[in-house]
Amino acid sequence: MKARTLPPGSDAPLRAESPWARTGRAFARHRTALLAGLVLGVVVLLALLAPVLAPYPPDYIDLAARARPPSPEHPLGTDRLGRDIASRLLFGARVSLFVAAAAVLLATCLGTLVGLAAGYFGGWVDAVLSRTVDALLSMPTFFILVAVQSLLPPSVWNVVGIIGLTTWLGLARIVRGQVLSLREREFILAARALGVPTGRIIARHLLPNVAGPVIVFATLGVADAVLIEAALSFLGLGVPPFEASWGNMLTEGQVAALSGAWWIPLFPGLVVLITALAVNLVGDGLQQALFR
C-alpha cells in the first residue's frame, strides 16, 4: 500500500503498481477524505483510550453536581444524574462504534454471500434471492426494527443483530450485478474449463473482483449503523439504558433540552454527527479512488 517514487527520467515503473497501491495513492490525493480518515482515526483512538483519558468513571454519579453546564471540573458539563458527560462520551464511543462495526460486518458478509450466490448460480436461486431482496427493500425497515427490537431483551448483541440483518439488502443487489457480468468473462470460463472447483472460483476469482464495491458499501454502512443505533437507543429500544452509548445519552437530552440544559443533548449529537460525517467522506473518497 506504499506509494513508490519513480527514479527521475524514467516514465514507467519497473514493476507494475498493484491495484491496491494505486487506490491508496488516489485516496491520498483526495484531501477531504484524508482529513476525514484522520478524524475517524482520532475518534477510534479516543474510544480505545477511554479508561485512560476519561476524568471520571462513566457511571460515577455526583449528586451535588446534577445538570451542571461545562466547567473546569466537568469540561462538557454533567447530565441530570450528575454524571460527567465527557467521560460518558468517551466510554459511549466504545459501545456505539462496536455496535456499528459489528453490525456492518454482519451485513457485509450476508450481503456479499447472497449477492454472490444469486449472481453466480442464477436460475431459481437468483429468482428466490432477488425477489426476497426486492420485497424487503420496499418495506419500511425502521418499523420492523422497532417492532422486533421491542420484543427482545435489551442487549448490545441484539442491537448488532437487528441492524446487521436489516441493512445488507443494497449490497446484495450490487454484488449480484457485478457477479452477473463477471461470470461471463473469459477468466472465469478459463477457470471453469481447467476444472477449478466452484468454491475456489468464487473465493479466488470472483470475490477479489467485487471487493471494491463491498468496501465502499461497508464504509458508508458504518455511518448508517451509527445513526440507526442512535435512533433506536433514543427511543429506548437500543443499547440497554444503563450502558453509556451516544444514543442513550440523547434520550436524556430530550427532557433536558426542554429545561434549557443545552449541553446534555448537544455534545452526544455532535459526536454522532462528526463520526457519521467522517465515515461518509471516507466512503466517498474510497469510491472515487476505486472507480476512476
Binding site: S138, L151, G269, L273
Partner: protein, 319 residues
C-alpha cells in the same frame, strides 16, 4: 402495462405475506406475557390463563396465525390488548396525522431540495456551490432527531416562537396559524435527510444535462434562460429524482417513528413505539402490515409516475 401492474401487485402481496409470517412468528416467540403485563399481579395464575384463552393465546401458533390472517383479509386486525378497542380503529385514527406530517415533509424536501440543487448546479464550483454541498453532506450525516432537539431548544425553549409538541394547542381555540406553527418543526426535521439527497441528485443530474447539445441548441435558438433551465434541463434531470421518490416513502415513514416520538405527534410512528413498550401484539402486527401496505402502494404510484414523466419507459415489454 396491465401485465406489469399485476406483477407488481403480486409481488406486493408476496412481500406482505412473508413479512406478516416473520413478524407474527417473532412477536409470538418473544418473551413477555401480554396478559400479565396488562393485569399484572392482580390476577391469579388460573385467571391469567383464562384471559390468555379468551384472547386465543393458548392455541398453537399456526392456528393463531391462520385465524389472524383470515380476519386480516376482512380488514379485522383483532382487538388492542391495551383497551380492547378494534385495532383497525386504533390505527386508522392515527393515519391522518402521519400522512399530514410525511406529506408536508415530502413537500418541503421537494421544493427546497430541487430549488437549491438547481441553483447550485447553475454555478458549479462557486462558493455557493461548495457551501450547498457542504451543508447537504452534513445534513445527510446528522441524526435528524438530534437536529430536532437543537431546533426545539432554540425556537421553543429560548425564543419561544414555536410549540415543541403536539399537532395543535390542546385547550382553547385552534386556528390555521396554530396548526401551522405546530407543523413547522416536525415536518422540517423529518424532511432534512430527504432534502439532502434531493439536493445532491438534482445537482448531479443538472450538471450532467447542462452539458448536452440540446441545451446549447435551446440557448442558441434564443430561448430565455429560465425556459432553458426549467423546460429543457430540469425535465430531463428530474428523471433520476423521480426514481428516488419510491425510496423516500419507506424512509419518510420510518423516520416518522423517531420524529413523532420527539414531537409527541399523535401518528402511527408514535403508536408503534407505544405498542412496542406495552407488547401490544395485535397493534404491532396491524401497524407493520398496514404501514407495509401503504408504503408498497406509495412505491407503486412512484413507479407509475416515472412512466408518465418519461414516455420512453414502457412497462411490461422488457420483462
Amino acid at each position: 402495462m396491465t401485465g406489469y401492474l399485476i406483477a407488481r401487485i403480486g409481488q406486493g402481496l408476496f412481500v406482505l405475506l412473508v413479512v406478516s409470517i416473520l413478524a407474527f412468528g417473532l412477536l409470538h416467540l418473544a418473551p413477555g406475557d401480554p396478559a400479565a403485563l396488562l393485569y399484572g399481579p392482580d390476577l391469579s395464575a388460573e385467571e391469567l390463563r383464562a384471559v390468555r384463552t379468551a384472547w386465543g393465546l393458548e392455541d398453537p401458533l399456526p392456528v393463531q396465525y391462520l385465524r389472524w390472517l383470515g380476519r386480516f383479509v376482512r380488514l379485522d386486525f383483532g382487538r388492542s390488548f391495551a383497551d380492547g378497542r378494534p385495532v383497525r380503529e386504533v390505527i386508522l385514527e392515527r393515519v391522518p396525522a402521519t400522512l399530514y406530517l410525511t406529506a408536508s415533509a415530502l413537500a418541503i424536501a421537494l421544493v427546497v431540495g430541487i430549488t437549491v440543487g438547481i441553483v447550485s448546479a447553475l454555478r458549479p464550483l462557486s462558493r455557493l456551490d461548495y457551501a450547498v454541498t457542504a451543508v447537504s453532506t452534513v445534513l445527510y450525516s446528522a441524526p435528524n432527531f438530534w437536529l430536532g432537539l437543537i431546533l426545539v431548544l432554540i425556537f421553543s425553549v429560548w425564543l419561544g416562537w414555536l410549540p415543541s409538541a403536539g399537532m395543535q394547542t390542546v385547550r382553547g381555540p385552534t386556528s390555521l396559524g396554530d396548526r401551522l406553527s405546530h407543523l413547522i418543526l416536525p415536518a422540517f426535521v423529518l424532511s432534512l435527510r430527504e432534502m439532502a439527497s434531493l439536493i445532491r441528485y438534482t445537482r448531479a443530474g443538472m450538471l450532467e444535462v447542462l452539458g448536452q447539445d440540446y441545451i446549447r441548441l435551446a440557448r442558441a435558438k434564443g430561448l430565455p434562460e429560465y425556459r432553458v433551465i426549467l423546460d429543457h434541463a430540469f425535465r430531463n434531470a428530474a428523471l433520476p429524482v423521480i426514481t428516488l421518490m419510491g425510496l423516500f416513502i419507506p424512509r419518510l415513514v420510518g423516520g416518522s417513528v423517531v420524529v413523532e416520538t420527539l414531537f409527541s405527534w399523535p401518528g402511527m410512528g408514535r403508536l408503534l413505539v407505544e405498542a412496542a413498550f406495552a407488547r401490544n401484539y395485535p397493534v404491532l402486527m396491524g401497524e407493520v402490515v398496514l404501514v407495509g401496505t401503504l408504503v408498497i402502494l406509495g412505491s407503486l404510484l412512484a413507479d407509475l409516475a416515472y412512466g408518465v414523466a418519461d414516455p420512453r419507459i414502457r412497462y411490461g415489454k422488457s420483462r
